[in-house]
């Protein structure tokens, strides 16, 4: 545990050295948030409600999505592990007396924690300054929203870790990463809120793991029904995916490292 706290701290400090990139990311998120929100407001000028979402819900989801983009990395970038497998650098990771998955989890949570503070909060604040956003009601609701964001980060990590593990079999994960970025941005509700999809499609997509990174946390934050009935149902869905995917990470790591062929001298 101590080790993983230390790795978490290294991950956090590591990203804090990328100041310019963080600022550029923050600007991009805010600008995209403003553009998307303006477009949605134009849609909502014609009709007051879409699938139970009003204009404020929609604009709030837009900024939630932009804010979550960096910490959950639904759209990428991939975990550094994939590139390390390709280059053989993973040898160094395997030479540590520590298990691979918890090490990378701690590292990536350091990264997410950093971007949560320095990208998500400012992005959301920009939205709140320009538009009226819907906020959770009361401490219990705020608490659930916070847990939901934390679970979203776990799911985001687990998915990217699994994509990277594919490298042990495929060696080159660039194809996987492209597919993952497409799936991630579409199925998570990042590109377009799943709430605006036709009912059956929208609720099916919500059950898939990608939705647990953006749409489900947005449902919890906005206090929407979601698919499993309210915020607690949403949290249960996220927790189930996080547990299942992390278990899969651990199980596949054991297999991958047994058949590992470390590249390069």
């Amino acid at each position: 545990m101590r080790l993983h706290l230390a790795v978490f701290a290294c991950g956090l400090r590591r990203y804090s050295t990328y100041r310019a990139a963080t600022f550029a990311g923050l600007v991009t998120n805010s600008v995209f948030g403003l553009i998307n929100a303006t477009i949605l407001l134009a849609v909502f000028a014609a009709r007051p409600e879409v699938n139970g979402y009003d204009a404020t819900d929609a604009v709030t989801q837009v900024f939630l999505a932009q804010a979550l983009l960096a910490p959950v990395a639904a759209f990428g970038p991939p975990l550094g592990l994939g590139e390390r497998v390709r280059s053989g650098e993973v040898a160094v990771d395997l030479l540590r007396p520590a298990h691979l998955a918890p090490w990378w989890l701690a590292h990536d949570l350091g990264r997410s924690a950093f971007s949560l503070l320095f990208r998500s909060l400012p992005t959301f604040a920009v939205g709140a300054l320009v538009f009226t956003l819907r906020l959770p009601q009361g401490p219990a609701h705020w608490g659930m929203a916070a847990v939901s964001v934390a679970l979203a980060m776990l799911v985001g990590f687990a998915l990217r870790y699994l994509y990277a593990l594919a490298g042990f079999w495929l060696l080159d994960t660039r194809g996987v990463n492209t597919a993952a970025a497409l799936l991630g941005s579409f199925c998570s509700g990042l590109l377009l809120p799943l709430a605006f999809f036709p009912d059956l499609l929208g609720s099916s997509l919500r059950l898939l793991p990608w939705a647990s990174m953006v749409q489900v946390p947005a449902d919890v934050f906005l206090g929407k029904e979601g698919v499993l009935g309210g915020p607690l149902g949403g949290l249960a869905l996220q927790a189930a995916w996080a547990a299942a995917l992390l278990w899969l990470c651990a199980a596949l790591t054991a297999r991958a490292t047994r058949r590992v062929v470390v590249q390069g001298g």
């Binding site: 080790l3 590591r14 050295t17």
Partner: protein, 323 residues
Amino acid sequence: MSPIIEAQDLGREFTVSSGRPLRRVRRTVTAVRDVTFSVASGEIVGYLGPNGAGKSTTMKMLTGILRPSRGRLRVTGLEPSRQRTRLAGRIGVVFGQRTTLWWDLPLRDSLALTRHLYRVPAADHARRLAELTELLELGPFLATPVRQLSLGQRMRGDLTAALLHAPRLLVLDEPTIGLDVVSKSTIREFLLRLNSEQGTTILLTTHDLGDVERLCRRVMVIDHGRLAFDGDLSALRATAPSPRTLIVDLTAPAPPIEVAGATATRVEGPRQWLELSANPAEVIAAVSATHRIADLMLREPEIEDVVARLYRRERTASLGKDG
């Protein structure tokens, strides 16, 4: 005392496929075959061989990141590929072309992390870090982000990271590759001290023969995956005796010198290299009878020549066997 490394009939094959999809050609490459050796506690052993000989593959198997295709392997009593994580706690490993350090963070941060990684008591860690900082002169760049370090500084940082938990065995794959002369010599002197003062066993691969001459009492030579030699340096010289070279500086350029007992192997302006097969005194007398000599130098065979000869011999022997 039981050996710290025991390898018996160790072998590793790789399947490589080449060509386009659908027309893939699969081929088996044997990187290491029938390698048997053992290393006792306290030794410094050089593992030499040309590029592609199988050095790194052997090191990967020893450290548990690659599973042998065949053979038996024990390192500090453990079976590396099955007990990799446990073994990692007992040994120190540096792959010269890779780093375990955090690229964006000050060197100090990566070194601090090893305390938790290897569960070293804080006081021991601080003491060893102070020691290593002094020996490897890390002081000036402890606070520098690793990506800004020179290769030599980074290598000293990596060595420190591998040694803070006081491992009994240090495995180094090309530790001096790409380093300048000063860094090389700092690292060599450090390794000698580590071995003599703390009894750390060191196994290193290199194709820098300076490393070998300075560090290794014992060398193993691997060629085409096979162990071609295992013994001490002087025995290696005796196995593949190499001629001495007489370097002659003439007063003016001349065609290659032809005298009994020597063959000119290289001519550069007035300087000629003569490979000796007879007594140097006789050759010098013969040369001075026909040429005006400005200067003379007698060069002992270098370990490089010896190893090159050993490879050539191995190759002709195996050709003979196969053909």
